[in-house]
């Protein structure tokens, strides 16, 4: 059977169930790379120039680990998913850049998604991708419909049952869910609700963010993420803060951040990669919003290849401390 490799990086977290369904309906076996390890990152970063952002280095590492495990590698080029939104250059150049830096890779199958170019172009692109495995347009269409359904139920699962992509993917692929984390590190502190926002590939890659979410749970915090919101909630926050969304993933950053700054949580942690173009601007919008509101704490953690684990932990602890102090003060004021 033909196999196609999907690197467990970048857009994997948002679309894996969709892509998997699509390819499996066309009779292709899907393999993914192992979760990121130190090795993945180290290998990836030898292939690209040093200024490349961390997530792309990680991505290249995952591609390298798939090189002799599949017949094709799937790398989409997503330009825009909504009219007049645009993506970071790195996503647009991803297939071509990967070909350049991993010349030994099996053939790379790509698809360009750009809704600005109309429905017809979209259908053609999907057929263009499916045709590699089944030239019958009807079969490709069936596969695409099934994929779309899988995507909708994946998003639904996350927003309704409040699951993170990792949990939802486990659910879908039939892996038993991990036990909820017992607060273990500082059980005496009162619990806080913390929203962690940013690109999915930074939030859920536990190697690059030093298990940030897990760690927050160990501290007894309840953690909320962008996927747990409905599309409507995120869009409303974008509209309030910047008007019209400009970036393809603006809703995960400005949308989710903006929403949580006003609702439900004691603090918002933004995670971004060093040198990230879109986030350097979007996190600034959030920082200013938090400054204007003065109610919800906000902190932005910047990750790069050499970010130290202790640095991240220290900042995390300081942030939680501050929230606890604020809460205590508020309780004291009430009595």
């Amino acid at each position: 059977m033909t196999t196609i490799g999907i690197p467990r990086a970048l857009l994997y977290y948002q679309y894996y169930p969709m892509w998997k369904t699509f390819f499996e309906h066309l009779g292709v076996e899907v393999v993914t790379s192992e979760p990121t390890s130190r090795n993945t990152l180290a290998k990836g970063s030898t292939r690209v120039v040093a200024d490349t952002c961390l997530p792309v280095k990680v991505f290249v590492g995952h591609v390298l680990s798939l090189v002799d495990k599949c017949d094709y590698i799937f790398i989409p080029a997503i330009r825009s998913l909504k009219s007049r939104t645009y993506n970071c250059a790195k996503f647009l150049g991803l297939p071509d850049m990967t070909r350049a830096v991993v010349p030994e890779s099996p053939p790379i199958l790509e698809i360009e998604i750009d809704v600005n170019r109309g429905k017809r172009y979209l259908y053609q692109s999907i057929y263009g991708l499916g045709r590699h495995f089944n030239w019958n347009p009807l079969r490709v269409r069936e596969a695409a419909t099934a994929a779309m359904e899988a995507f909708i139920s994946y998003r639904g699962l996350m927003s309704e049952s409040r699951l993170t992509p990792l949990q939802a993917i486990d659910d879908i692929t039939g892996i038993p869910r991990r036990e909820p984390v017992e607060p273990s590190i500082a059980p005496t502190t009162p619990s806080a609700t913390i929203a962690v926002i940013g690109h999915a590939y930074l939030l859920y890659d536990e190697h690059v963010n030093y298990e940030l979410i897990h760690r927050l749970e160990q501290y007894g915090a309840r953690v909320l993420t962008p996927e747990m919101l409905t599309e409507h909630e995120r869009e409303a926050a974008v509209a309030r803060l910047v008007g019209r969304a400009y970036w393809t993933y603006e809703e995960d950053v400005v949308g989710a951040g903006g929403h949580y700054l006003q609702n439900e949580v004691d603090g918002v942690i933004g995670i971004m990669a060093f040198g990230c173009g879109p986030d350097s601007l979007m996190m600034e919008i959030l920082r200013r919003e938090a400054g204007n509101q003065q109610t919800t704490a906000f902190m932005c953690i910047t990750l790069e290849e050499h970010t130290s684990e202790t640095g991240v932990i220290t900042r995390l602890e300081a942030f939680l401390d501050m929230i606890h102090r604020r809460k205590r003060r508020r309780v004291a004021l009430c009595v």
Partner: protein
């Protein structure tokens, strides 16, 4: 209304001309210096690219001088630039400037949006006056570009170093002052003639280096360490296909010659990069491929953290064309001295390469 706009090379010249003709007060921020950059960098969020910092510096200085309407480039699908306005406006407001920020959509409505913005700023002047003012402004820009092309040729071969630069700066201020088409034409012809007459060293065959990379740093010499001048001083002839007259980069019709050139560049890039990735990454790859035979080397200018140019750099490193490429990062953290050292080493490399090459060619002929 007191209007201002950030600098990018000589873009202020047409703006000045347009607003003068329309009777609008135009405030020109001080030309770019270290002060502009430090000012902009101080108030910029972390991790931003140099065009953001420089233009923010200009805007703050303009607001300080009393400008109350700031025109800044914006628009769809042009990388971070399209989002600059949203953040720069907030920064200015937080600093306490009560300015109106108008984003010029340089990509989507092309020329129309520029015209209607100028109309709005001019207090609804009649269309014919706006069109004639814009035409005049653009003619000035075209003159600047034509003079610049000659300067690029003269710099490396002039006998007395610095002559061309001096004439160039005189020409710029004369063009800036010209108030009608006749004067403009005369000034241009006059300076081009003078440049052509500059005594040259006829013996040397200067090295040819293509300059490619991100739009802003290509066109704003201060942001890119005056690299063209420096190369000229080292006796290198510089070729660049991006000129200020494409400053509304997507309004190609202003520069019909530009369309074909860009098409050629894109076609050349295609085997390695299929699509526009925002910014100018596609062009950078294309120029390397297209000019590999023609040029001795390429200097690739990239703002630090510039996403399209990082992709371009990754791809350029592995294309089959073997022309040497020097990537120069532009940022306020990077010292000019270090850049110049690398540049000199690069030029040495090109000289050695050319010698080896011509040596081989002679050997083959004999």
């Amino acid at each position: 209304m007191r209007v201002s706009t950030p600098h990018m090379g000589h873009v202020y010249i047409p703006f000045k001309a347009i607003f003068k003709r329309l009777g609008v007060e135009f405030i020109m921020p001080p030309i770019n210096t270290q002060r502009t950059l430090s000012l902009g960098a101080r108030y910029s969020p972390e991790g931003l690219c140099i065009p953001f910092k420089m233009t923010l510096g200009n805007l703050i200085e303009a607001a300080d001088m009393g400008a109350n309407t700031l025109l800044i480039p914006g628009g769809d699908g042009i990388c971070r630039l399209g989002y600059y306005g949203k953040v720069q406006e907030q920064v200015l407001h937080n600093l306490g400037y009560d300015t109106e920020v108008i984003q010029i959509g340089v990509s989507e409505q092309k020329f129309r949006s520029l015209m209607s913005i100028i109309r709005k700023v001019s207090g609804d002047a009649p269309w014919y006056r706006i069109i004639s003012a814009i035409r005049f402004g653009l003619s000035k820009l075209a003159s600047v570009d034509r003079v610049e092309r000659v300067v690029q040729k003269v710099r490396p071969v002039e006998l007395v170093k610095g002559t061309a630069n001096q004439l160039y700066s005189h020409a710029i201020s004369a063009i800036d002052k010209a108030d009608d088409y006749d004067t403009l034409k005369r000034v241009e012809v006059d300076y081009i003639n003078q440049l052509e007459r500059v005594p040259r060293d006829k013996q040397v065959q200067p090295l040819i280096v293509g300059i490619t990379g991100e739009f802003y740093v290509l066109l704003e010499p201060f942001s890119s360490f005056d690299i063209e001048q420096e190369l000229g001083r080292m006796g290198v002839e510089v070729r660049r296909s991006t000129f200020v007259s494409e400053w509304t980069k997507f309004s190609f019709f202003l520069n019909p010659f530009g369309i074909n050139e860009k098409k050629r560049i894109h076609r050349a890039a295609r085997p390695y990069l299929k699509r526009d990735i925002g910014g100018d990454g596609w062009e950078s790859v294309g120029e390397k491929v297209l000019h590999a035979e023609e040029y001795d080397g390429i200097v690739h200018l990239a703002p630090f953290t510039c996403m399209p140019e990082i992709i371009a750099q990754n791809i350029m490193l592995s294309t089959r064309e073997k022309i040497p490429v020097l990537t120069v990062l532009c940022d306020e953290q990077i010292a000019k001295a270090g850049v110049l050292t690398r540049l000199e080493a690069f030029v040495d490399l090109l000289i050695r390469k050319r010698r080896a090459h011509s040596g081989r060619a002679q050997g083959a002929a004999a």
